[in-house]
């Protein structure tokens, strides 16, 4: 065999070895891909199966809720009248009155009365407390009391110089009773102290008042 033939054989062997090396590792990678895709397809199948009834159930829930909204809006408008109903909604959710009621087209154009002029203050307070209810937390704009722009606390800003804005400038309430830091002994005569703070007795034996005695 000539030298050229040997070199030819070596070259062919090298090419075949390279082919085998790379193709084996490619097969390994493709098998991993196949395994992963099998798991993916199984999971996607589960997703499809689990989400299949969601549309129908949600549609039913929405239909029930729509019926409830329709009934409540109708009852509110029937009993309170359109202006007061809009005023009540606007009082509970500022700005919501402009949207009006869903089943009453054009109700958003109703001029909402100032709610405080329509209802007593107690009713308005109760209505505002109702905003803390869980059903109010489901408002599309979130819980009102957690919103500084719409919360009842915004009304306190009308009087910025009172306690809620500058608590550090107001004296604390006095402590009274047995836990008070300054204790006063009961007097024997009305308006006369037995002792001045840090002084001796103020009454002499014959009952005359000491010069330092003070009236309370």
């Amino acid at each position: 065999m000539t030298a050229a033939g040997v070199v030819l054989i070596v070259a062919v062997v090298l090419i075949v070895a390279a082919l085998a090396w790379y193709l084996i590792w490619t097969i390994v990678a493709l098998s991993r891909i196949t395994t992963g895709l099998d798991r993916t397809i199984a999971a996607v199948g589960e997703i499809i199966a689990k989400s299949a009834p969601v549309g129908e159930v949600v549609t039913t829930i929405n239909a029930d809720l729509d019926a409830g909204v329709t009934a409540l809006e109708g009852l509110l408008v029937k009993k309170a009248g359109m202006p007061d109903a809009i005023g009540l909604v606007d009082g509970l959710y500022p700005g919501a009155g402009e949207a009006g009621f869903r089943d009453f087209p054009g109700s958003g154009d109703t001029k909402a009365p100032r709610i405080a002029e329509v209802y007593t203050r107690g009713v308005l307070t109760l209505a505002r407390l109702g905003r803390e209810a869980p059903i109010a937390a489901a408002s599309p704009e979130g819980p009102v009391l957690r919103d500084v722009s719409r919360g009842a606390g915004a009304a306190l800003d009308l009087y910025p110089d009172v306690r809620q804005t500058r608590p550090e400038k107001l004296p604390r309430s006095p402590v009274i009773g047995t836990g008070a830091p300054v204790q006063y002994e009961p007097s024997e005569e009305p308006g006369v102290r037995r002792h001045m703070p840090g002084r001796a007795a103020v009454l002499d034996p014959d009952g005359r008042h000491d010069a330092d005695a003070g009236t309370v």
């Binding site: 000539t2 070259a11 090419i15 895709l37 798991r39 829930i61 809720l65 009934a71 409540l72």
Partner: protein, 90 residues
């Protein structure tokens, strides 16, 4: 004989590098797909697990139906108890 040597040179200097280059590219592409497929598989399994709660929608549906029925009952009673706006004004 000279043609044999030329053929050997072509095999070693041209064919072998080209084969190695092409196979290396194929192997690299196949290996790059594996992490993506595994990530997709993990995401799909997590999504499937998240959807386990969809069965509770049936409970939600039942609760919503009963709540609306209760609201309707209360509304009917209020409709009887309270005067209508026009009647109250008159």
């Amino acid at each position: 004989m000279t043609l044999y040597w030329i053929g050997d040179a072509v095999l070693l200097l041209v064919v072998l590098p080209v084969v190695v280059y092409l196979l290396h590219g194929v192997l690299g592409a196949a290996r790059s797909i594996v992490p993506s497929v595994e990530a997709i598989s993990a995401a799909a399994q997590a999504g499937s697990k998240d959807l386990d709660a969809t069965a509770l929608l049936l409970t939600t549906q039942d609760q919503a139906t009963r709540t609306v029925a209760g609201v309707a009952n209360y509304g009917g009673s209020l409709d009887v108890i309270l005067d209508d706006a026009e009647e109250a004004q008159s």
